[in-house]
């Protein structure tokens, strides 16, 4: 790998690390991070495929309140680097995924360390506020952001210095039953992400929509966009109908909640 590629990889890792906490541009999502690393190292297609596969697994990972989810940033960056060093192209994706998952757990630990280290930084910001020193407060905040970037950039740089031969040798020594099994496992693991999300949203009221979605999806001609459009329409219909029901119940007086009866009365 050329020096420029290596610098760009570390830069992508830095951005992904920052995004791991900011959650704004989504550079840390596998779809984006793996593609970028594939792009700067000349493994474009393999990067995209890895990103897509890992994204399916990571769909339900989200930072909620103070809770931290498995670290998508480290998982995507490190597995993409390993994919590139392994030199197997798209064929190396299942093996890279296999390494990604334990890394997502390791990343969790790094995140907690950095969030704890941020406490003294905030105290420094308190002091800056006390003095009315705007510049100083800003610098501390930017430092805190950079610290998040370094969290991923350092492991990424370390991985780059492992000789490609070692990584390739390691990946090649994985027997077929293991990598094939990993690929199958990857298909199963997707369910965990969905289960996380469903557990958060499910109420008695919205379960029927789950049933509808499941049945409609079996019609293979429908693209995901079409399914999304049907979902939006259903949500709007439901909300509007609910309002009509609500107004007729709460209206009282002439409004009996029986539209047919009202029409008859008007005659």
């Amino acid at each position: 790998m050329s020096a420029i590629s290596m610098i760009l990889v570390v830069l992508v890792a830095f951005l992904a690390g920052i995004e791991g906490i900011l959650d704004e541009f989504e550079f840390h999502q596998p779809l984006v991070a793996c593609t970028l690393i594939g792009l700067v190292t000349g493994n474009f297609t393999a990067g995209i495929v890895l990103g897509g596969t890992l994204q399916m697994i990571a769909l339900g990972w989200a930072n909620i309140g103070a809770a931290v989810s498995p670290d998508a940033a480290l998982a995507s960056v490190a597995s993409a680097i390993i994919l590139v060093l392994g030199g197997q192209g798209v064929k190396g994706v299942p093996a890279a995924i296999a390494v990604a998952v334990p890394l997502a757990v390791a990343g969790l630990f790094l995140t907690m360390v950095v969030r704890t280290l941020a406490v003294p930084i905030v105290h420094a910001m308190d002091a800056a506020a006390e003095q009315g020193n705007i510049r100083k407060l800003e610098v501390w905040h930017i430092l805190a952001i950079c610290m998040q970037g370094i969290r991923i950039a350092i492991p990424a740089a370390a991985l780059l210095f492992i000789p490609a031969k070692t990584v390739a040798g390691f990946l090649n020594s994985m027997p077929a039953w293991l990598t094939d099994g990993m690929a199958i496992g990857g298909g199963l693991v997707v369910a965990v992400g969905y289960a996380l999300v469903i557990n958060m949203m499910a109420t008695k009221e919205v379960w029927p929509f789950f049933v509808l979605g499941f049945v409609v999806a079996a019609i293979t001609q429908l693209t995901l966009i079409a399914i999304g459009a049907i979902g939006v329409a259903l949500a709007l219909i439901y909300l509007n109908l609910e309002k009509m029901g609500g107004s007729s119940n709460g209206g009282g007086g002439n409004n009996t909640g029986d539209p047919l009866g009202e029409i008859l009365n008007d005659y």
Partner: protein, 303 residues
């Protein structure tokens, strides 16, 4: 005071841009407080001129704050309106400003999580990923561009909405609108998630259920095929007319299941995961466990 100090659109844009970094100094003590103050700085600079006033303003914004990072925008808008009035001499004390912030951050976080993390991102992510798995560059591009347009649009317009509505926003938001958005997102989310479970949780059972010898005439008779291209043509015609390629009809367990309910195994696996998560099993443990199951079942020729 001769002139009223006003925050211009440029000031408000600067605040909106800085709020992108609101989680930058996220910490276990007061969470988003540093990022919040960082976002307020353009307004503080504009509204307060003496060092003492600026110090006081920064200090009151360094209090605990935590909400969904995008839903901080309407709160920032309201706070900008309050700070502006205060700088112009209105009687708004620290407690009032802190009260508005704390009062809004809880309910708004409750909207942001289902809408952004559980509906928009999984949907865009699945759309992008389904394209990317086939090596299509449009996958990542669609995800990245669509996400950021939605996010930036949302942040700027809700901040402006908050700024214009001022403290009245609390009444507006606690009313029907917030509830509608959350419920609408849940409906859409559940609908699309079910579709994703059906399509993307892939379980293929390989065991063969039955091998039936087909009657003569139901499969292509390879032994009596004309030679050369005429034979190929004959074979393709036979296949098109519905003849089997082999003299045996092999049915796998998966084909039987698909006839019954396509995606049933994936659905059951999802329910199992939901149940395990409710039993407080860590998602990481489940993920690692499923990899082990996948490898094990493959070695035993079940999957």
């Amino acid at each position: 005071m001769a002139d009223k100090i006003e925050l211009t659109k440029k000031d408000r844009l600067a605040v909106a841009w800085r709020s992108t970094f609101i989680q930058g100094s996220w910490n276990y003590e007061r969470m988003q407080n540093g990022g919040w103050t960082f976002s307020m700085i353009p307004a503080i600079k504009k509204l307060y001129k003496t060092k003492e006033d600026r110090a006081a303003a920064m200090k009151r914004h360094m209090e605990f704050f935590n909400t969904h990072p995008y839903l901080a925008s309407p709160i920032l808008g309201v706070t900008l309106a309050l700070e502006e009035e205060r700088a112009n001499g209105a009687d708004i004390d620290d407690v009032a400003i802190q009260g508005v912030k704390v009062g809004m951050m809880g309910p708004l976080a409750g909207v942001g999580d289902p809408v952004f993390w559980f509906t928009v991102r999984p949907m865009l992510g699945a759309l992008g990923a389904s394209l990317a798995i086939g090596g299509n560059i449009l996958g990542p591009i669609i995800f990245f561009v669509a996400w950021n347009i939605i996010r930036m649009g949302f942040m700027w317009y809700t901040q402006e909405f908050g700024y214009k509505a001022g403290s009245k926003i609390t009444e507006d938001l606690s009313g029907g609108l917030l509830k509608d958005i959350t419920k609408g997102a849940s409906i859409l989310g559940m609908f699309v998630l079910a579709a994703l479970v059906e399509r993307w949780v892939s379980i293929k059972f390989t065991p063969v259920v039955s091998t039936v010898k087909l009657a003569k005439g139901a499969f292509i008779d390879w032994t009596n095929m004309p030679k050369g291209s005429a034979g190929v043509q004959q074979a393709l015609q036979d296949q098109a007319s519905g003849l089997s390629l082999t003299p045996d009809k092999v049915t796998t367990l998966q084909q039987n299941l698909d006839q019954l309910i396509p995606g049933l195994a994936g659905l059951l696996l999802t329910f199992l995961c939901m149940w395990l998560l409710k039993k407080k099993v860590s998602p990481i443990v489940i993920i690692l466990g499923l990899f082990v199951v996948g490898i094990g079942a493959h070695v035993l020729h079940i999957l």
